[in-house]
C-alpha cells in the first residue's frame, strides 16, 4: 500500500480498468444477445478478460486455472449442451422471458446496493500489486500446507458429481 493521491491513476489501474470494461461489456452481451451460440462466445471473452484481471492482480495461478477450466472445459461443455438440446442457431426471440422489467430492477438494485457498499467501505483503500505473483509454486504450497483437508473433500465432491452426472445422463435412467 502506498500513500499516493487517490485520484492519480497508475498504469496498472488503467490496464485493469480496460480489462474490466471488456469483461463487463461482454458479460452484458452474454445476458442480452439473441443468439444462443453468441452468448457462449461472449462468455469466453468475458471470462478471458477476467483471467487478465487476475494476472494484473498478481494471481497468476488462478488466472491460468480460469483459462484452463472455464475457457477450456466449461464453455466447451456448455456448447455441447446447446448442441444436445438442439438450441436454435441464429437469432431467436424467446431466449428472454417476460419479467424483464422486474429482473432489470432487481439486478440494478443488487448492483447498486453492493456497489455503494463497496465504495463506501473500500473507496480509499489501495492495494499493492507490485509484489511477487502467486505462481503455481506459491499456491501449491498454500494449498497443500494449509488447505489439504478442504482440497480432499473437494475431490470427493468432484467424484460424486462425476458419478451423478453419469447416472443422470444414462438414457435408461429417469424418464
Amino acid at each position: 500500500m502506498s500513500d499516493r493521491s487517490l485520484l492519480s491513476p497508475t498504469g496498472v489501474d488503467v490496464v485493469f480498468a480496460l480489462l474490466g470494461a471488456v469483461a463487463a461489456a461482454s458479460a452484458l452481451m452474454v445476458v442480452t444477445t439473441r443468439q444462443i451460440v453468441h452468448a457462449a462466445l461472449w462468455l469466453v471473452v468475458s471470462l478471458g478478460a477476467v483471467a487478465g484481471c487476475y494476472l494484473v492482480l498478481t494471481a497468476e495461478f488462478v488466472a491460468w486455472m480460469q483459462v484452463l477450466i472455464y475457457l477450456g472445459a466449461v464453455v466447451v461443455l456448455l456448447l455441447f449442451g446447446m448442441m444436445l438440446t438442439r438450441a436454435p442457431i441464429g437469432p431467436s426471440d424467446d431466449l428472454t422471458g417476460t419479467n424483464r422489467l422486474v429482473a432489470f430492477f432487481a439486478s440494478v438494485a443488487v448492483t447498486a446496493v453492493l456497489g455503494v457498499l463497496v465504495v463506501d467501505a473500500f473507496g480509499s483503500t489501495m492495494i499493492d500489486v507490485s509484489g511477487e505473483p502467486s505462481s503455481a509454486a506459491v499456491m501449491g504450497e498454500a494449498l497443500f500446507r494449509y488447505w489439504v483437508l478442504p482440497f480432499e473433500a473437494l475431490s470427493v465432491l468432484l467424484l460424486s458429481a462425476l458419478v451423478g452426472a453419469i447416472a443422470l445422463s444414462k438414457p435408461d435412467e429417469g424418464a
Partner: protein, 104 residues
C-alpha cells in the same frame, strides 16, 4: 492500485449475472449467468487476497475451489438439463413448473 476497481468489476459481473439469471428462459443461458455471478465473486476473492497478502492465500485458494465447484456444477447441471430435454423436449425453465400449486 485502488481496491475498489476489482470490487466494482466484481459487483457488476454479479449484477449482470443476476439479470441473466432472472430473465433468460433457456436453461443453458441461466447456467451461463450463474457462471458470471461466480466469476464476480471470484474477482473479489482474489482482490481481497491481494489486499490482505498473507501466507495462507485463503482468497486465492477459495477462488480455486470455487472454480472447481463451478466445473462440477456445470457438469451436473447439464446432465439434469439433458434429462429434462429428453423428458419434455424443451429446456425453457418457465415451462418446468411441475411443482406449482394448483389452486385448490
Amino acid at each position: 492500485m485502488h481496491l475498489s476497481l476489482p470490487l466494482l468489476l466484481s459487483v457488476s459481473l454479479f449484477g449482470i449475472g443476476v439479470y441473466g439469471l432472472l430473465v433468460r428462459r433457456n436453461a443453458i443461458l441461466v447456467l451461463m449467468s450463474v457462471e458470471l455471478m461466480l466469476n464476480g465473486v471470484n474477482v473479489s476473492l482474489v482482490a481481497f487476497d491481494v489486499f490482505w497478502a498473507e501466507a495462507l492465500r485463503a482468497g486465492q485458494s477459495l477462488a480455486i475451489f470455487v472454480i472447481t465447484i463451478a466445473a462440477a456444477e456445470i457438469g451436473l447441471g447439464l446432465a439434469i438439463l439433458l434429462l429434462l430435454y429428453r423428458m419434455r423436449g424443451s429446456i425453457a425453465i418457465d415451462e418446468a413448473t411441475d411443482l406449482r400449486e394448483d389452486a385448490a
